[in-house]
Subunit: 151 residues, 2 copies
DNA sequence: ACAATTTAGTTGCAAATGTAACTAAATTCC
DNA sequence: GGAATTTAGTTACATTTGCAACTAAATTGT
């Protein structure tokens, strides 16, 4: 059976998705690394903590789509740099509450606009409707992939 | 400046893209690994070689969006498994021509339909028009990210 | 024609990653 | 109320990755 007639890598969706994602995250990652010395994961943690008050690591893993080991490592590095602080959680001795320190907050205030400019630069040339569609399609795809992975 | 008002990670496009891509490629990768013992990169090389006659590693890097080190490693593993063969390139002593062996061809014939089923499963629930849009939007995004990375 | 540069591909090494095993606290369920 | 299980988070280890340095062949420029 001539499978090569129907399978073309360049039109294969998981491939396109991977290329698009790798290119954009590499670009974005380099910028965070160069300007702020932050890895993508550290940046994600900061982004979420910046919009919340204090969260457990567990809550961070849920809202960053990172796994708990990755969160743990990112948080440790951020604590070492003095950008995040850890406070005892009084009702649960296993977990601690995490929050930005003032230094962390000021990094956040500096990084967030840069992040938004990145996004704007990337989406320059896309109409609002297209952006809406893209986001929607990606969300549906994520959900689908998650369902499929369960089996 | 209250950056937290405007930056929400869950609506941040590079993040959505990364989550969507990681979920789908993780799912797909596990399947290739489990069924055929192929990494994503090995599979890409096979996919491209399956649709071509014989290519240099250079041509492979161009059409798989992998870098030359990754291609080199994938090709080496495939040669060791007897799925790919390397022939002298008579006009250029630096590079060699790569092609699927019969064994490689038969793996290709087996994997390609699985890959297409994966894609179909993933895209179940998407209309043809949506699929077209998604592919188009991803391609534009890739191109944009590449341009931006150059500076 | 030959020195300098570019291109193809590989190798080595440091850093990042994923997985599994682990500790400790909380919860469940007799 | 106490054993068994689940949950939070960290650590250890093996694998993968990414980058820079390298070899060797081809190309360029003089």
């Amino acid at each position: 059976m001539p499978a090569d007639v129907t399978l073309r890598l360049e039109a294969y969706l998981p491939y396109r998705l991977s290329v698009a994602s790798n290119r954009t995250s590499r670009w974005v990652a380099r910028s965070y690394e160069a300007r702020f010395g932050l890895s993508i994961w550290q940046w994600r943690v900061i982004a979420v903590l910046g919009g919340a008050d204090r969260l457990t690591a567990q809550a961070l893993t849920a809202s960053t789509a990172m796994d708990k080991v990755t969160v743990s490592r990112a948080v440790r590095a951020l604590i070492e740099r003095g950008l995040v602080e850890r406070k005892k959680h009084q009702s649960d001795g296993r977990s601690a509450l995490l929050a930005l320190t003032p230094a962390g907050r000021s990094v956040y205030d500096e990084v967030a606009p840069v992040a938004l400019r990145h996004e704007a630069a990337l989406l320059d040339g896309f109409s609002p409707e297209e952006i809406r569609q893209l986001t929607d399609l990606l969300l549906r795809l994520e959900k689908r992939a998650e369902e499929l992975a369960e089996d």
